[in-house]
């Protein structure tokens, strides 16, 4: 039964309908959690004794950083599934995950830079964690640029999937080498996102935000995949029916 | 009948295109030498010859793209280089590759012509595209077109432009039978208006008053 379920994912039409059902729930849950987490983090959690209120950016920076890295691995895994089992939907997931991952990596970098200003006085510090994040952003851009370079979609899929896989092997190496580089040059100073022990009342909103971000990622991914599926299946009958249907009223 | 341009060209007092003992060299090798002919209005010349006989070089010399190694190319009695603007505006050269941009749609390729001289109305463009059998493909990017379809977009430019002298390099490549008949019809229409054509092709061309010039055997049967 599991195998049959696994292959069901292969049919884009089936995916479009199933995702249509889950999307409202996913989006709603994500919105709720994000709202609660943000209010809790910005207004209710106590200020940090050393950094004052600027630490509140952690409620955006840390979840975005988690997702940036997790998103890259998810993209690579989707690519691998596409390469091994030839499931087109996996390639679709890979392509959409690349864009969303790059966007969230940018968010992580931007929030990190803004957080750096009150903490260290300059927007950009070549801190080990942030430098690795910048390299990760370039890895994302590499996959996206390679994907767009090919006219034929199936070649683009395979090439991008391969680059993503190569990237996953390199990410740990990059992170370690940047850490080594950072300790080589840097006199001891506060690591921006070091494991400074957060007080429980600060940690709880962070967990809520992280879960909220993951749900948001899933919702954004499904939305983007639905558009991509329509783009790839534009010849299909069901897309024509959908187009005709959507010509008039709005139905998801 | 020529679907778009109604007016015919004014009469000519001297040859629209004349080769005066023109010779051509490529990489030290003489391709053809001391070639002379004259082309007046309402006349067509088919240049034949084996591969490498210099058919394309002859057309490029006529268009002014390639400088002859000897002799002169005249238009209306004067050397072509003296008044490049006038000769350029009377000439349309269709080379091996249809000068079509793959990323633009068929309509855009005709709207934004390269030499910036032509400005065609949308209706004329749609009519020309329909005349060359591309109705329904007007707003598709040309990269989705086959080689034959791209060449037809270039041929649509022939219809739209008011150039009097057509220089066509292998106009029938990648064109199906229906297309060949259509092109011959276009050429007949152009001759009817007093235009002149020089074309290179391996296929026999059924066109009234067509003269042939064979580069390999040197025969020039008037």
């Amino acid at each position: 039964m599991a195998w049959q379920w696994f292959h069901q994912w292969g049919s884009p039409r089936w995916f479009y309908q199933r995702s249509g059902v889950w999307l409202p729930w996913l989006g709603g849950a994500a919105g709720l959690l994000l709202a609660i987490g943000l209010v809790w983090g910005l207004a209710l959690a106590p200020a940090d004794f050393k950094q004052g209120n600027s630490y509140r950016i952690i409620y955006l920076h840390v979840p975005a950083s988690f997702l940036a890295l997790a998103g890259y691995y998810l993209m690579a895994i989707a690519g691998a599934i596409g390469l091994v089992w030839k499931i087109k939907l996996a390639y679709t997931a890979m392509k959409c995950a690349a864009t969303i991952g790059a966007a969230l990596t940018f968010v992580a970098l931007f929030t990190g830079a803004v957080w750096g200003k009150p903490t260290w006085g300059t927007y950009w510090v070549w801190d080990a964690r942030i430098t690795s994040m910048l390299v990760l952003l370039f890895l994302y851009f590499g996959v996206i640029a390679l994907y767009q370079a090919f006219d034929r979609v199936d070649v683009a899929n395979k090439a991008a999937a391969l680059l993503a896989l190569v990237g996953t092997v390199n990410v740990p190496i990059i992170y370690k080498s940047v850490d080594w580089w950072y300790t080589l040059h840097q006199p001891a100073s506060l690591k921006l996102t070091g494991e400074s022990t957060l007080h429980a009342s600060m940690l709880q909103p962070l967990l809520v935000m992280v879960v909220g971000f993951y749900l948001f990622y899933a919702a954004a991914l499904l939305l983007s995949m639905r558009a991509e599926v329509i783009a790839r299946e534009s010849g299909g009958g069901w897309v024509k029916a959908l187009a005709a249907g959507q010509g008039g009223g709005q139905q998801l | 009948m020529h679907p778009l341009a109604a007016h015919s060209f004014p009469p000519l007092d001297s040859a629209l295109l004349a080769f005066d003992a023109v010779s051509c060299e490529r990489g030290g090798r003489s391709i053809f030498s001391l070639l002379s002919f004259e082309l007046f209005g309402a006349a067509a010349l088919q240049v034949q010859g084996d591969n490498g006989a210099g058919k394309t070089s002859l057309l490029r010399i006529a268009a002014g793209l390639l400088a002859p190694s000897g002799g002169r190319v005249l238009s209306r009695g004067e050397p072509v280089d003296s008044d490049r603007y006038r000769f350029g505006s009377e000439l349309l050269y269709l080379g091996h590759h249809a000068a079509i941009k793959a990323n633009l749609t068929a309509v855009e390729n005709l709207q934004y012509t390269i030499d910036g001289r032509h400005r065609f109305e949308l209706a004329a463009i749609f009519a020309a595209l329909a005349a060359v059998g591309l109705a329904g493909y007007e707003d598709l990017p040309c990269r989705t077109f086959s080689a034959g379809q791209r060449r037809r977009v270039a041929l649509a430019l022939l219809l739209l432009s008011d150039a009097r002298l057509w220089l066509l390099d292998e106009p029938f490549t990648a064109i199906d039978r229906g297309g060949v008949a259509m092109i011959e019809q276009l050429m007949a229409g152009h001759l009817g208006r007093g235009g002149a054509i020089v074309l290179t092709s391996h296929q026999p061309v059924s066109l009234a008053g067509l003269r042939t010039l064979n580069l390999t055997s040197g025969a020039d049967d008037e």
């Binding site: 910005l42 209120n53 975005a64 929030t111 948001f216 558009a227 | 059998g133 329904g136 037809r152 229906g178």
Partner: protein, 77 residues
């Protein structure tokens, strides 16, 4: 949630100021919000555009059928 909700800031103004760190925190929140909204809106707009393109393709096919219907012997690729 331990005890009653204890707001950290007395007034909205204090909340906006955040003891001097307000601009940084709100800049970060603003950019994150913009990016996340874009990530939701962009696919929806793309989907609408793609469906419109499908309709345009159908219109194109109709034009092609009409062109071949009235002159079947005409030049066809």
């Amino acid at each position: 949630m331990s005890g009653p909700i204890d707001w950290q800031f007395e007034s909205w103004a204090a909340f906006w100021q955040m003891a001097g760190h307000g601009p940084y925190v709100w800049a970060a929140v603003a950019v994150t919000a913009v990016v996340m909204v874009a990530l939701l809106v962009a696919p929806l707009r793309r989907q609408r555009r793609l469906l419109a393109e499908v309709r345009a393709e159908q219109a194109r096919a109709a034009r092609r059928a009409a062109a071949t219907a009235d002159k079947p012997a005409g030049g066809k690729i």
